[in-house]
């Protein structure tokens, strides 16, 4: 089976800075894959290239076999790529419902003339869209809070609402940029389970950037490690934990650092997900 997302030799420069350097990457349908790396490694830049926020300088990105690196953001969204942001970017002055309705924008077809005339077809479509939005609210546990302004929701709810807004576009690939940033351990665990549900229940392929190692190790099937824009390792969580280059990237060179690193990585062994399907083979 051809990979859902494939990057070939992707390079992105900002002036003299090489943010992403000759990156090859592929992602299979139905997988959960993480991209990790120290700050400034080029993770978010890579996301921005995939979602059409940046134009790649070299290389190409294929989604489902189609090159998307030259497409506009809305076209990429139409093809089935949706994303969330490192810092929450909800439409703050719109309600939770309206955020979800905007997400459905391109699945609705009513024209403005139809809306002005109040055609029955437009009304029916709006009703459908509202139902879908309410369904998504239930899915993220925000039923009954649809009329709340997005900016008035608690932080964790805002994070999930942002994911739900991305889901409203009916994506095949979901890019999550640090979904658990700023969360406490309990919220992190909830978000981890939530992301797993997205794949298991909705069949959405997930690519995420994450700093919280417990989350990364607990959820990812494969991990790609970036450092200074280059891919330095790729593999299963177990392989990554014992990869000396990864430890070096995070902690630096030297025997002492090596020892500290191995201890730290050992401590970061994945926590069993809830509900637990049994301890992972670490």
């Amino acid at each position: 089976m051809a990979p859902l997302l494939m990057a070939e030799g992707v390079t992105k420069r900002f002036g003299g800075l090489l943010a992403v350097n000759n990156l090859d990457f592929s992602l299979d349908q139905g997988a959960i894959v993480s991209v990790i790396g120290p700050n400034g490694a080029g993770k978010t830049t890579f996301f921005n290239c995939v979602a059409g926020f940046y134009r790649v300088d070299e290389g190409r990105i294929l989604f489902d076999g189609r090159p998307i690196h030259a497409l506009r953001r809305d076209h990429i969204a139409h093809l089935g790529v949706s994303r969330t942001y490192q810092s929450i970017r909800l439409f703050a002055n719109m309600t939770a419902m309206e955020n979800l309705l905007v997400g459905q924008h391109h699945h609705l077809s009513s024209s403005w003339i139809g809306a002005v005339l109040g055609l029955p077809s437009v009304r029916a479509e709006e009703e459908m869209a509202n139902q879908e939005a309410r369904r998504l609210l239930r899915f993220i546990g925000l039923q009954g809070r649809g009329d709340t302004l997005a900016s008035s929701l608690p932080y964790g709810d805002q994070r999930r609402l942002e994911v739900a807004r991305a889901l409203a576009t009916k994506p095949r690939l979901l890019l999550l940029d640090e979904p658990t940033a700023g969360m406490n351990p309990v919220e992190r665990q909830q978000m981890t389970d939530f992301v797993r549900r997205l794949r298991d229940e909705l069949g959405i392929t997930i690519l995420l950037i994450e700093h919280a190692m417990r989350v990364v190790m607990g959820i990812s099937e494969r991990i790609t490690v970036l450092h200074y824009g280059e891919k330095i390792a790729e593999g299963t969580p177990t392989e990554i934990q014992s990869d000396p280059r990864v430890i070096e990237a995070y902690l630096g060179r030297g025997s002492q650092a090596q020892a500290v690193g191995q201890a730290a990585v050992a401590e970061l062994a994945p926590v069993p997900p809830v509900p637990s399907p049994g301890p992972p083979t670490a």
Binding site: A51, G52, N93, V102, P154, Y155
Partner: protein, 588 residues
């Protein structure tokens, strides 16, 4: 520090507070004197032989100083009154100094401030001559004390009193508007009793005051509101229908009663409401600051002008009516034919001007659109388009849409009043439908975060172009109504101030709010038109209103649904300004 010492320090603070308010009042009083408001409007009486508008400005200043001082005074009625008197008296100090310098010392203040005229000195001394230099201080103290006394009264008495004073002020200001229709009719004698040639008579003032006081005392407003709120939903809806009917009747009859001048003013307001609705789409919903809005207004006005004008610039004559079948003909010269065309052309212009500036954001967009507006203005007056648009001569002799001889109910501006109101009502409906549609949501999303909206699949090209085009359509309709109202189109009508006016009325009314546009148009367009006497000071009041607005009600007079929702978040603890609360700080 002991408690007593602290208390006395607090009191000292309160006295310096009253003094500070007095000094501000002093500056305001001096300003309204030297910029000419007091001397010029001394010629216009509010109440005949009693008080002029110029004096009213000073009285209001003293009242304000007294009231503000009372609010910050230490507890106790006597102290509050003393603080009010102090603030009022201090407010008068600058005027006394002006009198000392300009009158007694004989220094020629007029060389710098040309409004420091003998008339002004006479107003300030109440006509007592040189010896009266102390009068502003005394009057200030008295009026300040009165304001303090009023604010000490229990609400039950203070509110009707305030209503009475306000009523005298409003009736006095609008006197000529109310008087003109009464003259020559069965109410002629009553009009002569209540109104002077300018302003009102003393009898009129007493009646206006008494009526408002009685109204304030006996009006069972709270009681009625409570009863209305208790009614079930269906019954409340049934109440609304006769209310709408009544207001419709009110608007139908209004110009017939108040005369053509009033109709002209309201037609002008309706015209700006149309344009306000249009810009409310581009600016209020989609967040695109378009300062060249006048371009679309110009397209609408010139289209209607050229199609319907009877002058040699007009494109058609009566004989060119196209007979389609028996008794039915299409006349290109008809206003009704020209208006839809004007709207379509304005939309086309919206798309044409919108395309090159799609990628420009924020402040840069404002500058780019400003340029477009200027280009259109200069083109309209240029020699290049002289053969078609008439250049400085303009398009003249545009007939009224309906051929009604003078004296009939639809004559002159009155028909434009009706047309304008109907258009505004229809456009309101259309605008609200648009706002609540898929397109409206996309507009708001673009305003909130354009990048995110696009990443969710909203096409920026399509959505922004539609915002420009539909906004332009409304402005084109506004221009069409303008051509019908004024009967001519000159390139000088196409100026930056049209755009600025529309932006200002949206900001004053409340960004993104459609009722706000109506209120903003009434305040910024209607009132200045009614008070032609104040024309010179129009932009002074304008600027003051905008500054006050930004400080005290940044959301506008009638904030949009979104802003209102912010105030009614289900959490009872929701602060009034959610922007101040960091994301995530507020618990569920």
């Amino acid at each position: 520090m002991t408690a007593v010492a602290m208390a006395s320090a607090g009191q000292r603070g309160a006295w310096t507070g009253a003094l500070r308010i007095g000094l501000i009042g002093s500056a305001v009083a001096l300003y309204v004197c030297l910029n000419g408001i007091v001397p010029i409007f001394h010629a216009r009486p509010l109440i005949r032989d009693t008080i002029s508008l110029g004096q009213t400005a000073l009285v209001l200043t003293f009242l304000g100083a007294g009231y503000l001082a009372t609010r910050r005074a230490p507890p106790g009625a006597a102290k509050a009154l003393a603080a009010a008197a102090l603030a009022g008296a201090t407010s008068g100090v600058s005027l006394s100094v002006l009198l000392l310098v300009g009158r007694l010392a004989g220094i020629d203040v007029r060389a710098v401030f040309i409004q420091a005229s003998p008339v002004l000195y006479e107003v300030l001394t109440l006509g007592t001559g040189e010896a009266g230099f102390w009068i502003p201080i005394a009057v200030g103290a008295i009026i300040g004390t009165a304001a303090g006394a009023m604010s000490l009264l229990p609400r039950r008495f203070a509110y009707p009193l305030l209503a009475g004073l306000l009523s005298v002020l409003i009736v006095g200001l609008f006197a000529s508007l109310l008087r003109t229709p009464m003259l020559g009719g069965p109410l002629h004698e009553l009009a002569r009793l209540l109104f002077a040639a300018e302003g009102i008579t003393r009898v009129g003032a007493v009646i206006a005051f008494a009526a408002a006081v009685l109204f304030g005392v006996f009006w069972p407003q709270a009681h009625l509101r409570r009863r209305a709120a208790e009614l079930p939903h269906a019954q409340r809806r049934r109440l609304i229908i006769p209310l709408i009917g009544l207001s419709l009747l009110f608007f139908l009859v209004l110009p017939q009663v108040l005369g053509p001048f009033f109709a002209h003013v309201v037609a002008f307001v309706a015209l700006y409401i149309l344009m306000g609705f249009g810009l409310n789409i581009t600016l209020g919903l989609a967040g695109l600051l378009d300062l060249g809005f006048v371009a679309f207004f110009a397209v609408g006005a010139y289209t209607v002008g050229l199609f319907t004008s009877l002058s040699e610039l007009g494109l058609f004559t009566d004989s060119q009516c196209l007979a389609l079948w028996d008794g039915f003909a299409v006349c290109p010269q008809s206003f009704w034919f020209a208006v839809p065309l004007a709207i379509l052309l304005a939309m086309a212009f919206g798309a044409f001007l919108g395309l090159p500036i799609l990628g420009i954001r924020g402040d840069y967009l404002a500058i780019a659109t400003l340029g477009f507006g200027e280009i259109i203005r200069i083109l309209a007056g240029s020699d290049l388009l002289l053969p078609w648009l008439g250049g400085p001569q303009g398009v003249i002799n545009i007939p009224k849409p309906i051929d009604a001889p003078p004296g009939t109910p639809l004559a002159g501006a009155t028909q434009i009043y009706y047309i304008g109101l109907v258009c505004a009502a229809v456009i309101w409906f259309v605008a609200i439908r648009l706002r609540d549609s898929r397109l409206g949501r996309a507009w708001i999303a673009i305003r909130e975060d354009e990048d995110v909206a696009e990443a969710l699949g909203v096409s920026l090209v399509q959505t922004k172009l539609l915002a420009y085009m539909l906004g332009a359509a409304f402005a084109g309709l506004g221009g069409a109504v303008f051509a019908g109202l004024i009967g001519s189109v000159f390139y000088t009508d196409i100026n930056l101030f049209v755009s600025i006016n529309v932006v200002a009325l949206i900001i004053v009314g409340g960004m993104g709010s459609f009722p706000g546009v109506v209120v903003g148009a009434i305040f910024l367009i209607g009132l200045p038109e009614l008070f032609r006497e104040f024309a010179e000071y129009r932009f002074l009041f304008y600027g003051m209103a905008l500054i006050a607005m930004m400080i005290y009600r940044p959301g506008g007079l009638l904030p949009s649904k979104i802003a209102q929702r912010e105030l009614h978040v289900p959490d009872a603890v929701a602060p009034t300004d959610p922007g101040m609360v960091p994301v995530g700080e507020r618990g569920a």
